[in-house]
Symmetry: C2
């Protein structure tokens, strides 16, 4: 049998997983600093939930893994963590509002395998439900900013508003039922370029002149204030534009910069207001490292009672990992700090390992009775920074030999001395 | 639309998820103390991998969620983390041995929903590949013991050996091709009782007299030494029994108690030697909290070169959670430590929240402009321990009012004083 992974999936060996875990724990810390609590929902959902009216829309359902359980119920792997959040709020109508939660988990999309696009990937989502004021959108952006500062990644935050996009389309006389497909086309501007989008819009029966004017307005240049002014000159009154102004004023109070980008659309159909995206500066990773927005209709539809405001962002763990790797920081390959090598002294070796572990020092030990040089090469290949030789001679003197694998320096120390030395590292 | 979860799955709201995360982080810490490194494999696997000869066996395949991707490839949700580990080692033949890894992740079984049996559940697995000596089994048991001590759960560890069970069956003249089905029946002894097992064995054409003698020998009583003696008297030489003796002697050196239980079988067919199980003492949770064993054939079959020794254990997060909940410890419902209530002072409130967060204090803030009493009831319902009132009067004096939600005590403090007070908690 030839061993294979499912197409579009990958393993994360220890040297990668250690870094991924560090990213996740950094994000968790910031989420909790901002008062968000963790939630876990199942990886599998009922298909009727994922395909309901205000969920992710037709495009994403084409990429949804579907199957049935023993009882012939239609199930599917979740394609995001937002629809499950909405379902959770819908099933728990007595939750205190605002409900501030984060969730970290795998999502699945059975789509084409483009560059760095996986069929299973990990999202880290933060959302706040129950607050319609732009202050919630500002808090999400502030938290996002804090996350990337902690990760020491240089970013730009782009914002736009779906209501504004709708108002622009209305201004150009485009029919309301075409808003969603046209916006999904506009979403492809950055990825596929203006010509591809013009072609798509033609198929959606938008005449060439309108398309040209639309793309011109969306491509408006200048500072945030200049863009706002030009849009006001063109389309006059827009609730979406008012929201952008309000959001930017909150961000100003918080001392956070964001770029108003009228061409930003985001591919999912559930957004109703603010949309946001994080772009990495000075990185080869061109896709967004985080993205989200406001979706005021989905939860309400699940609750069965009108609207329930909600806004959130999703961090792409894989993109963040790739960006951090570009920095070429030395990668820890192992979690062990010291490797004990008993030399026909396994009993005593186990005792030493126990003492080290009791003192909180991550300790590995040779269980195979390998020779010293094989053991050294093992510890070296795993990147374990210290090695202890526990030979009969040393043990008789109540000592062990500690070797610093980086410098090669060796010292005769008591186990207690080893502990105090490794604890301060 | 009536909102539903897939049958056999559940959500973990923040008050449960916070506890689950603490359990996971305790386990991770101990795993790393013992020198194990993390691995992540996809939730989806190719069906041919999960159904290969030395994998989980026919029983578990009946409970495997199967589906196809766009390219009509047969995929499935993993039913454990052991087969994916074996596949990983098989695909990475240059891994340094022994390979010590842990993995925490969801697994799926589309089986009947018995009491506390879920179709999605979380396993925390620790395994060591590449070491055939019983010292590896002993290390896994030592680590298991350390985990439950850290969790402050009182446990008993049961051990047995599949080779011994095979030798016992051979001794009773049972055909080798019946070993696996008979052992799978014996596994049901504790759960369904002797009568049910007798019935099953009858269907497997084991005569009544043999069944009675078999069950008698398996039910052998006394201390570990007494059980070993009685088995030696009956079946004489057994490699499995030698392994049990060796394992018990290592555990003795480590100062760890384990009960040799000849009736212990474990349901999965891939075990080849030691099997082990953790039972919770003084708990209503009757199912095992952890279980595992040695599987020397699976990885070798994936590597395509004979045997590759491996042993490991899997901790059941859901069982451990249930056991901890029986203690009725006060549950933290939120991760926030303090809740800032601006009183028409949102701008200043945001500044205070920023200072607290910059000092590592988990901080929530009212974004809705609710009244003080509504805000207090919100903070109270979430179990947030402190509240800050930031009214105009207080702010003019460069102070805020800090309220201890437990005692009701209120103090006028500067933000710096609040920080030093909350940091020491």
């Amino acid at each position: 049998m030839e061993l294979q992974l499912p197409k579009g999936t990958k393993d994360f060996p220890p040297e990668e997983k250690i870094v991924r875990d560090k990213i996740v724990s950094t994000l968790k810390n910031v989420f909790e600093l901002y008062g968000y609590s963790p939630l876990e929902t199942p990886v599998i959902e009922r298909y009727d939930v994922l395909s309901s009216k205000y969920a992710g829309g037709a495009e994403i359902l084409k990429e949804t893994f579907k199957f049935k359980d023993q009882g012939e119920r239609e199930l599917a792997l979740r394609y995001d963590l937002t629809v499950p959040l909405a379902r959770f709020v819908g099933m728990n109508p007595n939750l205190k509002m605002p409900f501030k939660r984060y969730q970290i988990g795998e999502v699945f999309r059975d789509g084409p395998i483009a560059s760095a696009r996986y069929r299973q990937f990990t999202q880290c989502d933060v959302d706040i439900a129950g607050c319609s004021d732009m202050i919630a959108d500002a808090e999400i952006i502030s938290l996002t900013n804090a996350c990337f500062r902690k990760l020491e990644l240089d970013i730009a935050i782009k914002i736009n508003n779906r209501k504004l996009l709708n108002d622009i389309l209305k201004y150009f006389g485009i029919n309301e039922e075409k808003f969603e497909p046209v916006i999904l086309s506009l979403d492809k501007l950055e990825k596929f370029g203006a010509d591809a989008v013009k072609n798509e819009l033609k198929q959606k029966v938008i005449d060439e002149k309108t398309t040209a004017r639309l793309l011109d307005l969306i491509d408006v240049k200048g500072s945030n204030e200049e863009k706002i002014r030009q849009l006001e000159n063109a389309i006059r009154k827009s609730d979406g534009l008012d929201e952008i102004k309000q959001l930017l004023s909150y961000l100003d109070i918080m001392g956070i910069k964001a770029e108003f980008d009228v061409s930003l659309a985001r591919g999912l159909s559930y957004y109703t207001g603010t949309v946001m995206e994080v772009v990495l500066n000075d990185s080869k990773v061109k896709s967004s490292a985080a993205g989200g927005g406001r979706y005021d209709k989905m939860i309400g539809s699940f609750l069965g009672k009108g609207e329930m405001p909600a806004v959130g962002i999703s961090f792409g763990l894989d993109r963040i990992y790739d960006a951090l790797m570009e920095r070429k920081v030395a990668i820890e390959k192992t979690t062990a700090k010291v490797y004990v090598i008993p030399i026909q002294t396994l009993g005593e070796g186990l005792g030493i390992a126990k003492k080290l572990r009791d003192n909180g020092i991550n300790t590995d030990i040779d269980l195979m009775g390998k020779g010293p040089s094989k053991n050294l090469s093992y510890a070296n290949s795993l990147g374990i920074p210290f090695v202890i030789f526990a030979g009969r001679d040393e043990l008789d003197k109540k000592k062990v030999k500690l070797r610093d694998m980086k410098t090669g320096k060796e010292e005769m120390l008591s186990v207690e001395e080893v502990i105090s030395k490794l604890k301060t590292r």
